[in-house]
Structure formats: structure tokens, C-alpha cells
């Protein structure tokens, strides 16, 4: 067991080195902008860049709409599958896993060919339509994570009893979903939402191919043209991902632990 612990430390140290050296190197590189001394100039330049603010704002907005669309699609479906149509569960689970099988670039390629300006549904004919298509594309990318988060949340509550109790009190379906089910799975929904945010905020492929002024294409553009700013942006992006994951961890502490009656 002694030698086992030694090797465990070795493996851990090697892993830690591999994961921390790039982070340290990036921090160091991002502070080299002013010759001879370490400074935060690169961060100042990046944060002061109006294109940074515009594209970041655009991507945050896209993420918010993606989360709203994702919740609207996933929560009623997952609820209904648990309550009434358990036989459809394998089908729905399979569909929600499809975005992991079909690469994002293929999905967006299909959009470009199917929803062009001469098609019956010309999403790409206008800027607003393309924005909508981008949000839809992001929602499909987030589908596996969102569905799994919500379904896990639903597993911990007694969907049937809650529904019947609400119905006895005279609630309609809209009321049941928005005022009974949603608050009960809110933490799960928020976990899914933060994960979606982390995925969407720097997404490059879809935004770039749909020609949207999003954060991902901006990052790529800066990377191709500047020296120190990309490193600063990488640190900012890492901090955002870290923030999202920490929020999920904090939220999971408030989540109910066990199912009273698994459906």
C-alpha cells in the first residue's frame, strides 16, 4: 500500500503539472504586453475594446435566449414523459443524445442549406431570423445536457402525486408546470442553464458559419491578429467557465437528495 500511495502522488503531480503549466504560462504571457515589466495592459486593451463588449454582450444575450428556449422545450417534455408517456422515454433520450453524435458543423451545414432565403422557411433571409436560427442551433447543442439535468431533477420529486394534488386544487396544466413542477426542479434547471451558458458563450462553429457577431468568432479573429490579447482572453474565458461550474456545484448542495418514490 505504501508504494501504491507513492505512485498515486506521482500520477497526481504529473496531472497537476500538465493542467497548471498551460494556465500559468497563459497568465504569464498575458502580462507581458509592456516590455520588461509585468502589467495588466492586455486585459485593459481587451476589456476596453468596443468589439469585445459588443460580441460578448451578443453572446450573453444568445445564451439567455438559448436557456429560455431550452427550458421551454425540455421541461414540459421531460415532465410529460414521466407522467404520461414513459414508453416514449427511450425515443426521447435517443433524440436528446443525437447532438453528441452529429457534429455541430454538420447541423449548421444542414441549416444553411435548408433555411436559406429561397426556402419555405427563410430564417437566413434576415438578420433577426439568423439570430433566431443561431439560438435554435445552440439549443440543440445544449439539449443533451439540459435534458439530463432536468430529468435528474424530476427523478427526485414525486411528479404524479404533485400533479394530482395540484389538480385536486383546481390547477390547469400551465399552472402545474410553471408553479408546481418548475419550482421543484429549479435547481436542476439552473445547473443545466449554467452548463448551457458555458458551452454557448465561446461557441465558434455555428456563430462563424451563420456570420453572427458573437464572442467565439471575435476570439478567433483576435487570435489571428494579436499577440498578447488572446492570452488575456483565454484567462477571461477560463474564469467564466470556472464561474459557471462553481455555481453548478454550489447549487447542487441545495438540490434534494433522494427520490421519495421513483417514477
Amino acid at each position: 500500500m505504501k508504494s501504491g500511495r507513492f505512485w498515486a502522488w506521482v500520477v497526481f503531480a504529473l496531472g497537476a503539472a500538465y493542467f497548471f503549466i498551460p494556465l500559468i504560462a497563459t497568465v504569464e504571457f498575458s502580462m507581458r504586453m509592456r516590455r520588461g515589466v509585468y502589467s495588466l495592459d492586455a486585459y485593459k486593451v481587451v476589456l476596453g475594446d468596443p468589439r469585445f463588449q459588443a460580441t460578448f454582450g451578443y453572446s450573453v444575450l444568445a445564451a439567455v435566449f438559448t436557456i429560455i428556449l431550452g427550458v421551454l422545450i425540455v421541461v414540459p417534455t421531460a415532465y410529460w414523459i414521466r407522467l404520461r408517456l414513459p414508453q416514449l422515454r427511450p425515443v426521447v433520450e435517443f433524440i436528446t443524445l443525437l447532438p453528441l453524435v452529429i457534429p455541430a458543423i454538420v447541423i449548421v451545414f444542414g441549416y444553411i442549406r435548408m433555411y436559406g432565403s429561397s426556402s419555405p422557411l427563410p430564417f437566413l433571409a434576415s438578420g433577426r431570423g439568423t439570430d433566431a436560427l443561431l439560438v435554435i442551433g445552440y439549443a440543440t447543442l445544449a439539449l443533451p445536457y439540459m435534458y439530463r439535468a432536468v430529468d435528474t431533477g424530476l427523478r427526485t420529486i414525486d411528479v404524479r402525486t404533485l400533479t394530482e394534488a395540484a389538480q385536486i386544487l383546481g390547477a390547469g396544466w400551465g399552472t402545474i408546470i410553471t408553479r408546481v413542477i418548475l419550482p421543484n426542479v429549479l435547481i436542476a434547471v439552473l445547473s443545466g442553464a449554467f452548463l448551457t451558458f458555458a458551452i454557448v458563450i465561446g461557441e465558434f462553429t455555428m456563430a462563424s458559419l451563420l456570420n453572427r457577431p458573437a464572442f467565439g468568432p471575435y476570439l478567433q479573429n483576435i487570435g489571428a491578429n494579436r499577440a498578447y490579447e488572446p492570452a488575456a482572453l483565454a484567462i477571461i474565458a477560463f474564469a467564466i467557465t470556472w464561474g459557471c461550474m462553481s455555481l453548478i456545484q454550489i447549487l447542487s448542495r441545495f438540490a434534494p437528495r433522494s427520490a421519495n418514490r421513483p417514477n
Partner: protein, 329 residues
Amino acid sequence: MTDLSLSDHAIAGKTAPPSEARAFRLPTQWLGVAPFFIFAVMFLILPTLYLVLGAFQNAAGAFTFDNIVGIFDPPNLSNYVQCQYDSWISWADGNCRLPTILAAYWISIKISLASSLIGAFAGLAIAIAIVRGGLPNWIRSATLTFSGVASNFAGVPLAFAFLATLGRLGLVTVILNTVFGLNIYAHGFNILSFWGLTLTYVYFQIPLMVVIITPAIDGLKKEWGEAAATLGATTAQYWRMVVIPVIWPSFLGTVILLFANAFGAIATAYALTGSSLNIIPIVLYAQIRGDVLHNPHLGYAIAFGMIVITGLANVFYIWFRTRSERWLK
């Protein structure tokens, strides 16, 4: 949708003759999942089918295998002219080298395979170390938290981080050169190469492996080790006959998942190597942007080929996962 209560439904289902109940119930039941299915069909299934069908059609819309065959063809002369200004063509030695589509698939498969195997073994080692290695408890939770972050830290920023580390002016490159006198670029290393990209992909592959495989290692029951010891097994025998057979299916399954994960990725490679490394998503990207292959249907065929490869990978993944779940329940 309906204001019939649930209990009404239940009663109706029990008392009414089945045919009548069905005729009455079906529409409302299915309305609840209709938005999801409409969304999935319109924005996931139809766009994919459109490309798949397009892969088997020629410009006139007739059925053909030409596009699929075209994947295996060497590039023709019109592509060569194109080569002068198309970004996806490789410029390695100043000459215009023409990669075939097949070569691009092959590089993609090699990078995905290398990064998934390295990521899987390293991730497995880390997972075993934090679960069974007798390390302090905080290391386990810190590693899992960090893995959650790092597995989602992909795309363009990851490329920046590795450029700052192993690029020509990166910290590690410079330190190796000034402190140890080792110029890795003189020895043939390049971040804009197969190994550079593989090393970068490993940064999100290892954490993904750790996140997925740790529960499987947690599932190894202490009793099994004790039982093996009681029966006189050595540590090596315990690993060979108990641990490896139990972990094997979920390990293989995760390798495949990592493979598909790397295969579809484009942003990291595009930001890192620009267009100097022809992996298949970058070829497809260039084709979507500017029809560099001068044949839209060849683009569909490339997309179809990508779906076939990731699809096959996932079939294997599901198969291995169902096998591993037998043990871990």
C-alpha cells in the same frame, strides 16, 4: 390542452372499451410532447437527413454514388488551381501540397484516436490515484471540480492557452530553450502539427475521462478485494482478474465517447493551426464557406462521412455502456 383531471383519465381508461379510450386519448397525450418532436424533426433530424440525401444525389437530383466515391478520389486539376488561394490547402514546405479528402479524414481519425487513447489512460490513472491511492480527501474533490471546468474549457481559448505555453514564444518553449538549452522547435516539434494538436486536445480529454470513469472506479466494491485476498489472490491477480474485467467495458465506452468528442471539434484546431492542418471538420468548414471543392454534393458526402464515423462510435459506446451497467448497479 385539456381540463380533464388525471383521475378521470384513469377511470376512463379502465371502464371504457380500449378502442374508444384510444380514439379519445391519443391526441391529448401526444400534444404534450409535440413541441419537442417538432423541434427535433425541424432542427435536428431534417437538416441532417437533407445532407445525407444530398450525399447520394448529383446536381440534377438523381441518385448516385459519385459523391461517396469522390471522397476517395485524389483531388482533380481544378482543385489544384484553387490551391493558390484556398486557405485549407497545406503549405508546409512552400509548395502547394494537395491533400485528398481521404487524407483529411485520416488525420482526423489519427488525432482523435491518439488524443482519446492518451486522454483515457491518463484519465484512468488519475481517477485510480484519487479514488484508491490513499490521497487526502480534498485532492479528490478538487480534482473532480477542476475536471468539470477543464472538460468544458475547449474551443478557441484553449488554443490560445497552448500557444502561450508551447508556441514559439510560449513559456515552456522559452524555459526549455534558455534553462535547459533544448530548442524543441529545432527538434521538429511544432504546436501547429499532429502532436501539437493532440497534446492540446488531451487537455479536455483527460478531465472528461476522469469525470466519467471515477464513478466506475467507485463502483469497485471493497468486498471484492477482500474476497480475492481471502481466496489467496495476489495484488496483480486481483487487478488482472477482477478490476480490469469490471472496468473494461466502461473504459472502452468512454474511449469511444472521447473519440467522437475530438472528431467533431473544430474551433480549437482552427484557432491553433489556422488552416495548416487539414482535419476533416476544417475541410468541411472551408467547403461551407466557399465551396472550395466546387461541388456542393461532395460537401454533403463529407458531412455524411462524419456522421457515419461518429455514429458508429456511438453505437459501440451504447453497446459497451449496457455491458458495464450490469456490473455497476
